[in-house]
Amino acid sequence: MMAISDKPIDTARLQRGVTNPAAGGYCAFEGWVRNENDGHVVERLEYEAYEPLAIAEGEHVIAEAQEKFGILDAQCVHRVGLLEIGECAVWIGVAAAHRDEAFRACRYIIDEIKVRLPIWKKEHYAGGDSGWVNCERCASHGIAD
């Protein structure tokens, strides 16, 4: 299940949604809004998504992870709107029979989501400036990981 939300992500509730009696391992990733990027003090982030295709592409990524790693379940929620420092921007939860496939699938899903889903992020800096973050810069500076 892939979802886009304009409300805070409730990770405890989401975790309960991937429990499975056949699961021996659960792996989650949370991406948080941090207060600095590339030497700039970041005050908040603004996420925009084109929801119909972000969901469709997210579902493809999750299906690929299920196919590649044989996991029992995987879910992902990505926030949109204005987020404050420390808020959860993206959550991924994976349940699998064993830890190895849970870790690997979780890593696969976040890596693919960052480069494939039509989601954009604008940084709002101290002093009032703002700027869109692009993925190439994102990759070279390790932002939001």
Binding site: Y50, L53, H78, V90, I113, P118, W132, E136, C138, A144
Partner: protein, 80 residues
């Protein structure tokens, strides 16, 4: 000429000053639409960093466009 509705997102919307516009274009492919709008709005973003969809389907740059299509132009993505 084809009547194409173009939708802009994130930095493309800010460059264009509009979220959507309908243009009369002599365009055969998705690439032609991208180049026409880039010239129209003075964007310098390389095509290779962007993505495109036609009528809500992600597609490649050589995909044909038809009269009445809606083309979605996605600047470099940055989820997560």
């Amino acid at each position: 000429m084809k009547r194409i509705t173009v939708r802009y997102f994130a930095m493309f919307r800010e460059h264009a000053g509009v979220g959507e516009e309908t243009l009369e274009l002599d365009a055969a492919t998705a690439r032609d639409v991208f180049e026409a709008t880039r010239a129209r709005h003075g964007s310098s973003e390389p095509l290779g960093h962007c993505k495109i969809a036609i009528n809500d389907r992600m597609t490649d740059w050589d995909a044909p466009v038809e009269n009445g299509d809606t083309v979605l132009l996605f600047p470099p993505v940055a989820g997560g």
